[in-house]
């Protein structure tokens, strides 16, 4: 993509043009034109930082999309302009994906103030797609004041949403395990607002008291209050008001106390680190033509002519020397 086309795309995004926004997200996703993508994000960067970013996460089937649909109702009533990014997994076998989250929110398909975009994870670990962060910037620059990211159905360690969101809603349902599961590392550590959905099911009360116990052990949240725990039943609208109010309250407290600014600074640190590491990796991969050599290494290790660490250390050192001599 030429510089001129990229700049055209930038002005379309800043003007809020739907097609331009959609094309830009594809550009970020496809990674075909790295230079254009970098130019695009750099051009948008000074226009970013105005949106509030919500993360919705939890295991698959807990009702994330349905809850999100209900929250959209409130956000639209309060006249927010909302972008929704829904992430589903890509098949590690075929590379394909079935993106079915927006099905629950199709009543907003014709609302000009709502933009829904489905993303496939494309092998990116962590519960979001590699280009989700770029998509957030594109929506932010395009004037969406609230951006909601729904992660793939997560297990215990897909916690990358904390690197993008101002507030994380962790959705759970009865029947996922006892409080020992809730004490483990990972998923339970990323919630700012805890939600027990499908609260009409058996075991909801028990989960509530177990979770309350675990949250008490965890202490206060970033705003110095108890962690909010909200019972909802999305399909019949129960608890949605409370969830919406609690989330807004949390965000207000965070903003007023200046914690949000610190949180965003910390997020920038993640981001800068990630870009820098990726760039270094790119360089090394490129110079060493790792892919062309890898097969030989595997063969030597397979035939037990060499042991893995010794061989790899040796080869990498050799490659670094080679690079220095260039």
């Amino acid at each position: 993509m030429s510089k001129k086309l990229t700049q055209e795309l930038v002005s379309q995004i800043l003007g809020g043009n739907t097609r331009g926004i959609a094309k830009a997200i594809s550009l970020a996703e496809n990674g075909l034109a790295i230079q254009s993508k970098e130019e695009l994000i750099d051009s948008l960067y000074s226009h970013c930082g105005n949106a509030t970013i919500w993360g919705i996460t939890g295991p698959s089937g807990v009702g994330k999309s349905t809850l999100l649909d209900k929250l959209l109702e409130h956000l639209r009533r309060d006249n927010h302009k909302v972008a929704v990014i829904v992430v589903d997994p890509s098949s590690p076998f075929s590379g394909g994906a079935l993106l079915g989250d927006r099905l629950r929110m199709q009543r907003y398909a014709t609302d000009a103030q709502v933009f829904i975009r489905s993303m496939a994870s494309r092998g990116h670990p962590g519960g979001i797609a590699g280009a989700t962060g770029d998509a957030v910037k594109i929506f932010d620059a395009a004037g969406y004041d609230t951006i909601i990211i729904e992660t793939i159905g997560i297990g215990q360690s897909e916690v990358e949403i904390v690197k993008l969101a101002d507030v994380v809603l962790l959705i759970l349902v009865p029947g996922l395990g006892d409080e020992i599961q809730a004490l483990k590392a990972g998923m339970m550590e990323i919630g700012d607002i805890f939600v027990i959905n499908k609260s009409d099911l058996n075991g909801a009360d028990r989960l509530q008291s177990e979770l309350q116990y675990v949250l008490n052990l965890r202490g206060k949240d970033k705003s110095g209050s108890e962690y909010p725990l909200v019972m909802t039943c999305a399909t019949n609208n129960k608890g949605i008001n409370e969830l919406y109010d609690r989330t807004n309250h949390y965000l207000t407290t965070l903003t007023q106390s200046g914690i949000l600014t610190r949180k965003r600074r910390k997020r920038l640190e993640y981001e800068v680190r990630a870009i820098a590491t990726a760039k270094i990796r790119e360089k090394i991969d490129f110079n060493s033509r790792l892919e062309t050599q890898l097969d030989g290494w595997i063969n030597e290790i397979w035939l037990k002519k060499a042991s893995p660490y010794k061989l790899i250390n040796q080869k990498i050192n050799g490659l670094i020397k080679e690079m220095e001599h260039r």
Binding site: A22, S26, N30, L32, S94, G95, G96, L99, T110
Partner: protein
């Protein structure tokens, strides 16, 4: 990295029979495409806005109620209005042979009626790219 082909599978109209649409959606996923599925009873307006937001390369319309001569061309027209007529549209469902020439003349690139092997749809998609 190569560009991923994205396909919207949508059901316009009022019939609630989505087994065919779901079968195609799943099979295209297995063939390596990114498939967006929006469920039943979608208006042409919703389908077109979804296609634009999702930046899809193809729209597959499934319809079993008999309203295809009305609704399929409507989708084509709305896409054109949005200057998004580079998106390829194909259709499927219960569609009489005699209606196919009319639909093709109105911008539907291919029609796959019931019993079509999935391979035919994949070959069609590949031939368009």
């Amino acid at each position: 990295m190569i560009k991923k082909i994205r396909i919207l599978i949508a059901k316009p109209g009022l019939d609630g029979h989505d087994r065919g649409a779901k079968y195609v959606a799943r099979a295209l996923k297995d063939a390596g495409y990114e498939v967006i599925y929006t469920g039943i009873r979608q208006t042409p307006e919703a389908i077109v806005r979804t296609a634009i937001q999702e930046d899809v390369d193809f729209i597959g319309l499934s319809l079993l109620s008999g309203a295809h001569n009305e609704l399929f061309p409507k989708v084509v027209k709305l896409l054109k209005d949005q200057e998004a007529d580079d998106v390829v549209i194909f259709g499927g469902g219960i569609i009489p042979e005699s209606d196919i020439p009319f639909l093709k003349a109105n911008g539907i690139r291919a029609i796959f009626t019931s019993g079509t092997p999935i391979k035919d749809i994949i070959n069609f998609i590949q031939s368009c790219k």
